[in-house]
């Protein structure tokens, strides 16, 4: 299961790079990469090969160990988040039950926050060890941005946990959405806040100030070359994939979809069948794909924020809004009977 999720994250991230370029080309009325293979289908392999064969440069005045540690840490934390996401329902083969999730820890939501908050060290260490003013500025921007938006994100997730009946396990959060409506119906504002914060946490435009090429050359990865640069860029796509998965699981029911039980009945599938897991996985993936498209759509539509606008949005708009959302959630859940005093 570990290997499957590892391969899946890397594979999706690789093809997300191609899809991003195709998508940008579509929005800008261009063709996009179409030379490597059919419609450029081999482009990610060509990019990867190019990255591996580029000259590797480590600046003389940099701290060598930390310089290499930075991108490795960033990549590692990006891959670690996939461990608690439930990719599909449990299935039974030959009397043994297999779970389509690496581990279902009862503090899954907090685990995600722990990993995300440690992820910023990759950028900070890399940016500082480069011994370059632009890289340092990029690293400092990244860390302050991530810390600011983590607060609003955390408060919106608390509201979500209240709606889900007080569980911190991702499997249970997804599970309680299988009958009735998905969490988005009860948490529209919370979802909006979470989505904006997810954009900021993944350093995607319009929040890509840490690498802001018009001011900072390349931001925290200015001094990086070869596959170490590749790791930084690639981890961004993995983060995007994982945060799309988290949003679908938190707010849109994960591997559940409307009339799923009726469909399985009509197809004559029993609970525990591998096909149910597969169909659920397909539904989950459709949602993830749509979120990835929204991420790209936002990136190629909106211009970048100015730094003070970014901080004002985080501290003066999103945090009060998420507190309001929390208060509203408590009132609504009291009338739904989920909270007793």
């Amino acid at each position: 299961m570990c290997a499957v999720v590892f391969g899946l994250s890397l594979g999706v991230a690789a093809y997300a790079t191609l899809w991003e370029r195709k998508f940008a080309a579509f929005l800008q009325d261009r063709v996009g990469p179409d030379r490597a293979g059919w419609h450029g289908i081999l482009q990610p392999l060509a990019d990867g090969g190019k990255m591996f064969f580029k000259e590797e440069i480590i600046p003389n005045l940099s701290n060598r160990f930390l310089f290499v540690l930075g991108p490795s840490l960033f990549m590692m934390t990006a891959l670690m988040t996939g461990a608690v996401i439930p990719w599909g329902a449990d299935f039974v083969i030959g009397g043994k039950t297999y779970s389509a999730q690496i581990t279902d820890i009862n503090i899954g939501v907090l685990y995600l926050f722990g990993v995300v908050s440690v992820g910023v060290y990759g950028i900070m260490i890399g940016g500082w060890a480069s011994n370059n003013k632009f890289a340092l500025l990029g690293a400092i921007r990244a860390s302050s941005q991530m810390i600011s938006y983590e607060i609003a994100m955390g408060i919106s997730v608390i509201a979500l946990v209240i709606t889900s009946g007080g569980t911190l396990s991702l499997r249970e959060i997804v599970g309680q959405q299988d009958a009735g409506v998905c969490n988005f119906v009860w948490q529209p504002l919370g979802f909006l806040i979470f989505f904006i914060c997810a954009l900021a946490e993944t350093n995607r435009a319009p929040f890509d100030l840490p690498e802001c090429e018009s001011e900072l050359v390349g931001g925290y990865h200015t001094e990086y070359s070869s596959m170490k640069l590749g790791l930084f860029l690639f981890a961004e796509y993995i983060n995007m994939f994982i945060s799309s998965a988290i949003m679908s699981a938190f707010y849109f029911g994960g591997f559940n979809f409307p009339f799923a039980a009726e469909l399985y009945n009509a197809m004559g599938l029993e609970a525990g069948s591998f096909w149910i897991t597969l169909i659920g996985f397909g539904a989950f993936f459709t949602k993830i794909f749509m979120f990835i498209c929204v991420f790209m759509w936002v990136r190629w539509t909106l211009p970048r924020f100015r730094y003070d606008q970014l901080m004002n949005l985080g501290w003066k708009i999103l945090i009060p809004l998420s507190l309001l959302n929390l208060a509203l959630t408590v009132v609504v859940e009291y009338f739904r009977g989920h909270i007793q005093f």
Binding site: I107, L110, Y111, F113, S117, V118, V120, M124, I125, W128
Partner: protein, 175 residues
């Protein structure tokens, strides 16, 4: 293995690592390295919390200390760009005073911990006390008053920080 259980082995390894990284915090020449070693120390302590069945405490320790507070420390140190050449060196009197003060702090801590065995605090509730739900119930039912006192303390600190960090309003508008 050698008469120890796996928990004892883990405890020993984590304690060794925590103390080693703690020493590295003090002995590193570069302040950025010190902060990174401190982060590693926090991870070892989070491991200790896990060994004591306190999962919530462990993960919150990582989120708050390693993920937020230490990032801000690193942030400030990177901005100030401290190093040995530019930093004024402390005299040996300051060093001795610091060592004595630190030693007395250690003395107080050891003294207070020495009596804690008789209190039996470690057996409070069941072994599931570290789970979020049980911990929340205990905090908000049995220990509500200390909890609120702690939150007022934090609030006071917050207000103080905002007061200190606020720019003085400019009285003279003619510039």
């Amino acid at each position: 293995m050698l008469g120890y259980t796996i928990t004892q082995w883990l405890f020993g390894i984590l304690s060794f690592l925590a103390i080693m990284f703690g020493l590295m915090v003090v002995f590193s020449r570069n302040p950025v390295n010190s902060v990174l070693y401190l982060v590693l120390t926090f991870f070892c302590i989070a491991g200790h919390y896990l060994l004591m069945n306190a999962q919530f405490l462990a993960i919150v320790h990582i989120v708050v200390y390693a993920g937020a507070i230490m990032v801000l420390f690193l942030f400030i140190i990177m901005l100030m760009n401290l190093n040995e050449d530019s930093e004024p060196q402390k005299t040996w009197i300051t060093k001795i005073i610091a060592a004595v003060a630190g030693g007395m702090m250690l003395f107080v801590l050891v003294g207070s911990l020495k009596g804690s065995e008789q209190l039996g605090l470690s057996t409070y509730g069941s072994s599931q006390i570290g789970l979020v739900k049980n911990l929340g119930l205990v905090l908000f039912k049995d220990f509500l008053f200390p909890f609120e006192i702690a939150s007022i303390l934090l609030l006071a600190a917050l207000v103080g920080v905002i007061l200190l960090g606020r720019k003085e309003p400019v009285m003279d508008k003619k510039l």
